[in-house]
């Protein structure tokens, strides 16, 4: 009985997917007012679903971390900090008369939310430097080409050398970007799209 219900639910999901795909596909191909109206409604529902998903995600996050604290799992103190900070920022937003755009919230955004992740992200430069030191070497198979390409890209885009390098260097850089790099990127994109399509079809019609 339970299995039959699961199968029915699966067919309903597939049916809903096919209907939505048909409406949005028709809307894209032909300008029919009725279809346009239905497509717009579907897209508006997407907005609601996404907002609901966001809220569900927040509650899920809080629930998981609250459980972690309650059971005293490893690094529960980090979960405590997370919940504390989330509640503090939420309180600031609620207390402010102008909501998310009040001065206190703006202060939190300018002085905490932006600089802290920026500082963490800046560490990437150090790891990038270590990787460049390790990989971009003459003699390693394939690396000579990578080294030449990386140096050319870097030097031609360096403000300090602007106007000092020969025009051929800039022309080579543009040719590299326009031709081989572009071809490779498009190949990768095409491959990714086909793979995603196949994975989607496989997921929907798996059984």
């Amino acid at each position: 009985m339970g299995k039959r219900r699961v199968v029915s639910a699966k067919y309903l999901v597939i049916l809903a997917t096919v209907v939505c795909l048909s409406i949005l596909g028709l809307d894209r191909l032909a300008d029919v007012p009725t279809v346009r109206f239905a497509a717009n409604q579907l897209l508006a529902w997407t907005l609601l679903l996404a907002a609901f998903g966001l809220l569900a995600g927040i509650f899920n996050l809080l629930y998981i971390h609250a459980q972690r604290i309650w059971r005293g799992r490893p690094e529960w103190s980090m979960s405590l900090v997370l919940i504390g900070v989330a509640l503090a920022v939420f309180s600031v937003g609620m207390v402010e008369s102008s909501g998310a755009f009040g001065p206190l919230m703006q202060w939190v955004f300018h002085n905490i939310l932006t600089p802290v992740p920026a500082a963490l992200f800046a560490l990437l430069a150090f790891f990038l430097a270590a990787a460049a030191y390790r990989f971009l070497r003459i003699g390693r198979h394939g690396s000579s080409w990578m080294l030449a390409g990386a140096l050319l890209m870097m030097l031609t885009q360096m403000p300090l050398l602007r106007g000092l390098l020969p025009d051929a260097a800039y022309a080579t850089m543009h040719w590299l970007i326009d031709k081989p790099v572009m071809a490779a990127m498009r190949g990768v994109l095409l491959g990714m799209s086909l793979a995603m399509l196949m994975v989607g079809v496989h997921l929907v019609f798996k059984e």
């Binding site: 949005l24 346009r36 497509a39 717009n40 897209l43 508006a44 907005l47 679903l49 996404a50 907002a51 998903g53 966001l54 998310a100 755009f101 703006q106 955004f109 300018h110 939310l113 932006t114 600089p115 802290v116 992740p117 920026a118 992200f121 150090f126 990038l128 430097a129 270590a130 460049a132 030191y133 390790r134 971009l136 070497r137 003459i138 003699g139 390693r140 198979h141 394939g142 690396s143 000579s144 080409w145 990578m146 080294l147 990386a150 140096l151 870097m154 030097l155 885009q157 360096m158 403000p159 300090l160 602007r162 106007g163 000092l164 800039y170 970007i177 326009d178 790099v181 990127m185 498009r186």
Partner: protein, 468 residues
């Protein structure tokens, strides 16, 4: 019961069903199959036969199908009885090198060497997996070999050999194994990081000479300038704001001149962002713009700013019904509240779309999901990394303008400054504070580039000295 499998590449323990090593990413499918088969005992049932077949397939999959030597390697492994327990030996590879299947003309002339280097870019090499002396392997019990680090019992000389093989340079299976007595130069992380940190510090302390010339005129920048310059006053400009200042701080510098231009041209900006922090980021930038051009009121150009959850899925709505996307209370409401503004503006027909995004995907999504619906010209403002991906869209005419990277921002700034020089009334001048901030950004970029170039050169110098 085997609960873990040891990676033959790095020796790290992984869960028994892992396909790849958690540490080094090596293919563990063969090892997983072997461990499962070992748990079940001798192959008697159909499942075991399937497992054995899967193991065989997985072992084959370790080599590339288009590699002409792959079959020979596999065949040789079966001939010499090489298993998955890391018992391959240097002697085995010596045999491999001698086998006829691996005979290859010596690459002596430069053209052939060039071809080999190019091949290195295209085809990953089969890495030798010599891990132990066969004599030692025989002494080691199978259970220990399966559970413990296979490198644990090796002599110092063997360990040195393993380090050379796995830590330094991938070695072709048919190439002679050359082990240096000195060992590869060590990666001295503290020195490396210290050097880069020093250059970052120098950017704040030492001013490099001014730029010798104007930024290169990147294709797309002047077209973007013309698009904004040719707009009639009080038109609706749709802005898709998709960057986070924490991870793409340079976007501020690229976006500012365009926003300054739009403000000066008295356009009405209606902003949507797929990021929760997008609206705050945009308002922050408009506040900065107010300070930079010493003219209060640029923020007024930002008529509406909304966060749109849903990512790319929601984008078609912007092309079909702006009012629905903004829920009628912001966009429509603000338009109605200001009759002067609403008169020349039709909410459904923006005059221009500005996509401000650090990643190329956002621009691509806009061009695929929104532009075909509203047929509005699109100007993209992106980071330098997105430029190669977006360049074809500019070449094909799908993008009406493309301003990418700090260079693009500076080139746009130069165009604006020329306009200021020609007609001071039309566009407000930048304050000294703003000019200083831009100069500082270019200085940081200069010093960072010098640091990176030095690090790469030092790495190569170290390897050349080591080779010598």
């Amino acid at each position: 019961m085997n609960s873990v499998i040891i990676c033959p590449h790095c020796g790290i323990r992984n869960r028994i069903n892992s396909n790849f090593c958690n540490h080094c990413g090596a293919d563990l499918r063969a090892e997983s199959s072997a461990a499962r088969a070992a748990e079940r005992g001798p192959a008697t049932g159909p499942d075991d036969v399937n497992d054995a077949a899967a193991e065989s397939n997985a072992r084959d999959a370790r080599y590339f199908d288009d590699d002409p030597h792959a079959d020979a390697v596999d065949e040789h492994e079966r001939d010499v009885g090489v298993g998955d327990d890391g018992a391959d030996t240097a002697d085995d590879f010596a045999l491999l090198a001698e086998s006829k299947a691996f005979e290859r003309p010596a690459l002596r002339d430069p053209l052939a060497q060039l071809s080999t280097d190019l091949q290195g870019l295209l085809t990953p090499h089969v890495v030798s997996s010599v891990t132990s002396d066969p004599a030692h392997a025989d002494e080691q019990p199978a259970s220990v070999a399966a559970h413990e680090n296979p490198l644990a019992g090796l002599a110092e000389a063997d360990l040195h050999r393993v380090r050379h093989l796995l830590g330094n340079e991938p070695t072709l299976t048919n190439a002679p194994l050359e082990v240096s007595a000195v060992g590869p130069p060590t990666l001295r992380i503290p020195w490396l990081f210290g050097l880069l940190g020093l250059f970052m510090l120098l950017a704040f302390l030492v001013n490099l000479p001014d730029l010798p010339g104007q930024p290169p005129a990147l294709p797309g920048v002047s077209a973007a300038y013309r698009q904004i310059e040719d707009l009639a006053d009080n038109r609706l400009v749709l802005v898709w704001w998709a960057y986070d200042p924490a991870t793409a701080g340079e976007m501020d510098l690229i976006a500012l001149p365009l926003l300054r231009h739009l403000t000066a041209r008295q356009q009405q900006l209606f902003l949507f962002s797929p990021l929760p922090t997008g609206v705050a980021t945009a308002e922050r930038l408009f506040t900065r713009l107010d300070a930079e051009i010493n003219l209060r009121g640029s923020a007024a150009a930002l008529r509406s700013a909304d966060y749109l959850p849903g990512g790319p899925a929601i984008m078609p709505l912007l092309g079909q019904s702006l009012a629905l996307a903004a829920r009628d209370t912001t966009l429509q409401g603000r338009l109605n509240a200001n009759p002067a503004a609403s008169a020349p503006v039709t909410p459904e027909q923006p005059a221009l779309a500005l996509v401000v995004a650090a990643q190329a995907e956002d621009v691509q999504n806009w061009l695929e999901q929104v532009q075909p619906r509203n047929h509005t010209p699109v100007v993209a403002i992106t980071g330098a990394a997105a430029d190669p991906i977006l360049r074809p869209y500019w070449d094909s005419g799908q993008l009406a303008g493309l301003v990418s990277g700090v260079d693009g921002g500076l080139a746009y700034e130069a165009l604006l400054n020329n306009a200021v020089a020609a007609n001071a009334e039309a566009i407000p001048r930048l304050s000294q504070l703003a000019l200083g901030a831009r100069h500082q950004m270019v200085q940081i970029q200069n010093w960072g580039h010098i640091g990176f170039a030095l690090i790469i050169l030092l790495g190569n110098l170290a390897i050349l000295v080591h080779s010598a």
